[in-house]
Subunit: 155 residues, 4 copies
Amino acid sequence: MRLHVPIPLRWGDLDAFNHVNNVSMLKLLEEARVRAFWQAESAVEDIPSTAVIDAGLDTDTLTLVAHHEIEYLAPVLYQRDPLDVQMWLSKIGGASMEVCYEVYSPAADGPVLVARARTAVVMASAETGEPRRITPAERQVWEPYLGEPIAFSRG
Amino acid sequence: MRLHVPIPLRWGDLDAFNHVNNVSMLKLLEEARVRAFWQAESAVEDIPSTAVIDAGLDTDTLTLVAHHEIEYLAPVLYQRDPLDVQMWLSKIGGASMEVCYEVYSPAADGPVLVARARTAVVMASAETGEPRRITPAERQVWEPYLGEPIAFSRG
Amino acid sequence: MRLHVPIPLRWGDLDAFNHVNNVSMLKLLEEARVRAFWQAESAVEDIPSTAVIDAGLDTDTLTLVAHHEIEYLAPVLYQRDPLDVQMWLSKIGGASMEVCYEVYSPAADGPVLVARARTAVVMASAETGEPRRITPAERQVWEPYLGEPIAFSRG
Amino acid sequence: MRLHVPIPLRWGDLDAFNHVNNVSMLKLLEEARVRAFWQAESAVEDIPSTAVIDAGLDTDTLTLVAHHEIEYLAPVLYQRDPLDVQMWLSKIGGASMEVCYEVYSPAADGPVLVARARTAVVMASAETGEPRRITPAERQVWEPYLGEPIAFSRG
């Protein structure tokens, strides 16, 4: 099962080549992770059931990125429509998880896969900075999203 | 009459003080201007009638910011809900316009005014870089949004 | 008397128009303020005597931006050489100060004034979030930089 | 042989966790690549001999990032001193190259390795967007920097 998080572009995500900058794409993935996995005050209806990490202001948890890998398959131009960031988990460890992504850009003749990525995230205590175990409650809501590791088309 | 453009926050808009950074707020206003005034490919329904500037890829027009003034009235925390960026025009000149903004943050007991701003924008030819006149078509769709200049509460 | 802080550009400061983005310019001014007024661990020699605000990690002070005004006088292209951000203070109040800036870009035939700006900064207690008084020590090192308010060439 | 490019931090590189944000680190690597490999107008003395790609304004070449991999070894706090970004090439192909990085943060008791990364860059014609061959002149100045692929400590 996959999480689908729509992430709107900003014109400011473009670089001087007039494409969404490769680093900006990782900001979009960061925002997708936050919306998929973090608690946050909201009046909106569509908070995913997976959004259970208390990682906001006065947080208990720091979610530390240990590793990223990303490949870019097509340039992305500015558009009003959000990108469709699809996420699943290839691993849920004791204190860490690996998030996999496929990013689709809407187009007249159907969505285009523009990027693939994976991120290793370590849960740490905001107090001590030390890794803290993933809780049973977190594990329970995340396990349905376990899937295959992402395959990159090139090294 | 005001334009209302919802602009979602990103966790990355926060700075080390854990508030939306004062400079990030101007990125949000930039995106609100782009969505209010620029043409852009989209499958979405809610493109404002005012979005007529051809300022995208292979653009005819550069919209150059000549002047910004902004005051910050309340800190903004990260939230899932978009900010409500309200815009109107205090001036439509020969080749420039002044955009005024009030930015509201949603809250349990009603929206909170978090920032006021104004931006002077000059239309320039992408070819020559020289100012180019606002077209009758642009003027026609923008005139309904003419209003009073914004008043700042402090210098 | 003016503070001169060299601020290197990043290619990422450019936007799709291939100029330093108008919002990025305010990030450069933010960095100039931090280097001019904040304490920070360093092995480098040239920390200004004005850098006395304890506003780093585990900070005592939040420096809150209350107001910005900026005008853009010339486009800035990417270059290896830092911009020369010149700063002075037009006011030192009880708990706030106003920083004025002139930003110069190096060029073959002498520096070019590319932007003028002013920022109202309020000192607040990191604990309470309430404004806190500027200390005598801060006032003493900052007073030599008191000068005229900046004059903008247009509204 | 390695290229050493000093990259100053900005306070704005920090995120709400008060560390240099993991995505910001990739902006620092982008700037290191630009300063190492791109031509750019400058009055400064220390332009590396490897800076030969015509990828600036009115450019001939687009340098497209095809792939990034990065691991984070230690949190980086804001500091006045630049990071030492060390780069070498693990491959120079027909139209692409792989850049490897080790990023060191200065500290009282010696530099600390804070990140390792690699980036696959494809040279493309700015006119056609198609890959273009690495020139003999580029190959000649880059070959001395060929070295082993970087080894990551974890997947």
